[in-house]
């Protein structure tokens, strides 16, 4: 058992501040709380690698070019399901430029989706490798395949978009009783299509197996250590012999955690030819073979009591995660249901398509879209406004404050259409306006198991190093800000190195864990380094060690104030070096972060086109380490959510399992032309979970946007649309049906 010190701290936020006593593990830096006065933290720091990015000097995996480098491509199955019957690669090797070809499947192996890798070819030039694909002779025994989870034998029957059929038998008694006792009940079905990650830089890496038996890799990844581990085990190498670089990465969003079959193939090819081998996926491969957000069917029945409190919540879902048949689970914010009897059931339905991967808040946008849609219906049954209904039911004290702040800033009262389905005063008859809102919940406070090095040199240079990657979130800048804060100097002075597995181990960029996992370690390293700096300065000046401190760019020693550089000259030629560790989380204020979003839309009833006019987010992420970086995350997530709500849909040919829109023209993601007015309000909370108070931010703002937009469309046209994306055909069909029924 680790020893610990009791520490009193003030946590929460202005509207709900309280004193708590936490057990801080011995050796950890004294935690920051509401009363801590911070200088660099919370500012607007220019990303420390921004100049490299805007000048074109930043080097991504796709940009790596090494002497003698070969180019590799992957031969893939054209069939969705079956077995590889025979594979003949002999004609490939004889082609001009081809240096090596390896099978990735043996005859008899299953092929599981269109695009399943079967062989890899390395050639001197990319065009030679691509030409050589035609010489791969593969035969297959094919099987009939389910290529859409809706066709799975266990899929629920859908009639006019609603699941028909029995509810799960097990564990539903309490919920059934609560439903029977409810004043009002409702039931409905929601459907989400597959979304692809669509990182601008495709997946891939350059692998160089060297003569000394080591493997050096430049990867487009969000997990340098994950790629190292994956390659080491696939090639049966000790991890120390594999070094992975990822200094700049063109997006990941959950799709770039592993080396993947393609990365392993590149490394194996490199081992064969002893040259660097580059293998980057094409845009089509990236859409079809590199993961996606799974589809989902969700049905909910729920009940409220006479006051409008949710008392019964029965949530039943099916996920479509592709050939693995795993990972299609959906999630939703639990804070509305503290007074309800609840049940949650889920089944994954496999299909012969590319496997789902984690994608920004895996399962949450789907689940929250359904959940917030049902909440909207319940509000209607209660005869309440959607905001008032949420204020009545939401148990999260942070979000209570956020709802109020957001509603005021957004103009909820004015933007909400009081007569859904009819034009607002002054609008032409075909323009229907409406507003919607939705919550976000996330429960990631980071974890242990990483280290950070902080080094102070006698010329005043301060280094902070960690081997994890910065995928564009600004993690390098977060490291600079925290180190600077602890040392009392400017963030621009800190030299941060990330993205090299020769540096101390760090987390994968996923689940919004990077910042809360790493930030307390960064601070701990800087805090330790500061202590040693002060000790050395005290020794050099022959003053009491306790009398030296860093503050406002100076080092104060008793009654003397030295400039930081001046003080560093006293430390001698051996740099001060400290290794920070991540201690376990404290009890803290609350284990989750809260957010909410508002959206206003205008729907053209003649064309069915939905335009989002305004989006506003209020989001907690614990301590806001840098306001600019935090807003950047929120704003980007909002548009990804809008894109999911209105545009994105993988279209697969049901007969063959081929993706029909594997490009950016037919697979639309929101572009500049779709941009609404946007506002992000950061809602800082002293959460008392670690020495910084950092919490995750990447995922939560991606959760609320689709639901808020869908609810806004419902408010505009007077009909709830429960199938994403809300494309114009769906809007027109809903309006036509409403006219028929009138």
């Amino acid at each position: 058992m680790t020893s610990r010190d009791e520490h009193e701290m003030r946590v929460g936020f202005a509207g709900d501040a309280k004193k708590i006593t936490v057990d801080v593990p011995t050796g950890d830096a004294p935690p920051w709380d509401l009363d801590t006065r911070l200088t660099s933290v919370g500012g607007r720091t220019r990303r420390i690698d921004a100049v490299a990015k805007v000048t074109g000097r930043a080097r991504y995996a796709y940009d790596v070019d090494l002497p003698g480098m070969l180019h590799a491509v992957v031969a893939r199955s054209p069939h969705a399901a079956g077995r590889l019957a025979s594979l003949d690669l002999s004609a490939v090797a004889a082609l001009p430029g081809v240096a090596a070809v390896i099978p990735l499947k043996e005859p008899g192996n299953r092929v599981r989706f269109v695009g399943d890798p079967i062989a890899a070819i390395a050639a001197q030039r990319l065009d030679q490798a691509l030409d050589a694909l035609a010489a791969v002779r593969a035969e297959y025994t094919t099987e009939a395949a389910v290529t859409d989870f809706r066709d799975h034998p266990d899929a629920p029957e859908l009639v006019r978009g609603e699941v028909v059929g029995p509810w799960p038998g097990r564990g539903g008694d309490e919920v059934a009783a609560a439903l029977a006792a409810a004043a009002h009940t409702a039931e409905g079905t929601w459907i989400c299509e597959v979304q692809t990650h669509s990182c601008l830089e495709s997946h891939g890496l350059v692998a160089w197996f060297k003569d000394d038996g080591t493997l050096e890799v430049w990867a487009s990844t969000q997990a340098t250590f994950g790629v190292r581990g994956g390659l080491a085990s696939a090639l049966e190498l000790p991890e120390e012999k594999v070094r992975v670089h990822a200094e700049f990465v063109g997006g990941g969003f959950g799709s770039k955690f592993g080396a993947d079959a393609e990365g392993v193939a590149a490394a194996r090819l490199s081992r064969l030819v002893k040259c660097p081998v580059k293998l980057m996926l094409s845009r089509f491969e990236d859409h079809t073979c590199a993961g996606n957000r799974p589809s989902a069917i969700i049905r909910i029945r729920a009940g409220i009591d006479a006051r409008g409190i949710i008392t019964a919540w029965d949530y039943d879902a099916w996920g479509g995660p592709g050939y693995t048949g795993r990972g299609g689970g959906t999630r939703h914010n639990p804070t509305y249901f503290t007074r309800a009897k609840t049940r949650n059931s889920h089944r994954d339905l496999d299909s012969a398509t590319d496997a789902g991967r984690a994608m920004r808040a895996p399962g949450w946008p789907q689940g929250n879209f359904a959940m917030e849609g049902m909440v909207e219906r319940l509000a209607e049954l209660a005869g309440m406004d959607g905001l008032a209904f949420r204020l009545l039911n939401d148990a999260d004290p942070i979000r209570q404050a956020e709802w109020r702040l957001g509603a005021e800033r957004f103009g909820w009262e004015q933007r909400r259409n009081p007569k859904p389905g009819t034009p607002r005063d002054g609008d032409p008859a075909h323009l229907l306006r409406g507003a919607g809102l939705a919550s976000a919940f996330w429960g990631q406070m980071g974890g242990t198991g990483n280290q950070v090095t902080c080094r102070i040199h006698q010329d005043g240079t301060v280094e902070a190093r960690n081997g994890a990657q910065d995928i564009g979130t600004g993690m390098k800048t977060v490291m600079a800000v925290l180190t600077a804060e602890e040392l009392g100097i400017a963030p621009e002075r800190i030299r941060v190195t990330m993205g090299d597995t020769n540096d101390p181990v760090g987390p994968a960029s996923g689940g919004s864990t990077t910042t809360p996992s790493l930030a307390p370690t960064v601070r701990h390293a800087a805090w330790l380094a500061k202590a040693e700096l002060c000790e050395r300065v005290a020794a050099a000046l022959r003053v009491e060690p306790g009398s030296v401190r860093c503050e406002g760019g100076r080092v104060i020693a008793g009654d003397r104030a030295l400039g930081f550089d001046e003080a560093c000259r006293l430390i001698g030629p051996t740099p001060v070096e400290a290794t920070g560790r991540r201690f376990r989380n404290y009890e803290g204020y609350q284990d989750s972060v809260a957010g909410c979003q508002f959206a206003a839309v205008v729907v053209d009833a003649r064309t069915g086109v939905v335009r989002v006019e305004k989006m506003l987010a209020v989001q907690d992420c614990g301590l806001v380490i840098d306001t600019l970086l935090a807003e950047n995350q929120v704003l980007g997530a909002m548009i990804q959510g809008m894109s999911y709500a209105l545009h994105e849909q993988r279209i697969v040919d049901r007969a063959t399992g081929r993706m029909l829109n594997g490009d950016f023209l037919n697979y639309k993601i929101s572009g500049p032309a779709d941009l609404p007015d946007m506002e992000a309000i950061m809602f800082p909370v002293a959460n008392g979970k670690n020495n910084v108070g950092a919490a995750g931010l990447g995922e939560p703002p991606a959760i609320a946007a689709p639901a808020a937009i869908a609810n806004a469309v419902g408010n505009a046209i007077g009909i709830p649309l429960r199938h994403l994306p809300i494309t114009l055909d769906k809007v027109l069909a809903a309006l036509a049906e409403a006219r028929r029924n009138r």
């Binding site: 921004a50 100049v51 000048t55 601008l200 564009g472 950047n632 929101s670 941009l675 950061m682």
Partner: protein
């Protein structure tokens, strides 16, 4: 396909470069592979993402759809030529300052498209900006900071100060 190369001159960022290159190559490939100018990015190679945007005789083109042979001798500007020596172009400065460049992969394309807009229209409206960068996509930023960066760069090029819109911090 044979490996025979042709010799041609490309005028990139004001300097002529004589290059021996495979005649089937696109301008994007010659810039990145033969001239080592990797600031121009490779996003789709289908003309759909704008990451590879460069200026050809001052006009934005998607370099992945331009056959290199066709543009020998013509003026090409890439991101490496946007700054004036060590002085960043105001677009670069503001993309950095506002976080309009997150992963950074789309940034060169946006900035080159925007630089042409600001050349011909020093005071563009938001809709004019929308039109100028409509062919570029970004998966990270949500665009709003890109728009603000372009607006502020325009102001700065006009000699005005211009302040970024600050989002709100609760309690501030």
């Amino acid at each position: 396909m044979t490996s025979s190369k042709v010799l041609g001159t490309f005028v990139v960022n004001g300097e002529p470069h004589e290059v021996a290159y495979a005649p089937h190559k696109t301008l994007l490939e010659v810039l990145r592979e033969d001239l080592g100018l990797t600031g121009t990015k490779h996003g789709c190679e289908l003309g759909e993402c704008g990451a590879c945007t460069v200026l050809l005789d001052g006009t934005p083109v998607v370099s992945c759809l331009v056959l290199a042979q066709e543009v020998e001798g013509r003026a090409i500007r890439t991101i490496e030529g946007l700054a004036d020596g060590p002085d960043l172009h105001p677009l670069q400065d503001l993309f950095a300052e506002l976080g309009a460049s997150q992963c950074g992969y789309c940034s060169a394309g946006f900035m080159l498209a925007a630089s042409e807009l600001l050349e011909r229209n020093p005071d563009p409206t938001r809709d004019e900006i929308r039109a100028a960068v409509a062919g570029n996509i970004c998966r990270c930023t949500g665009y709003i900071k890109i728009f603000e960066a372009i607006e502020l760069a325009a102001a700065r090029l006009r000699g005005e100060q211009g302040q970024p819109t600050r989002e709100m911090l609760y309690g501030s």
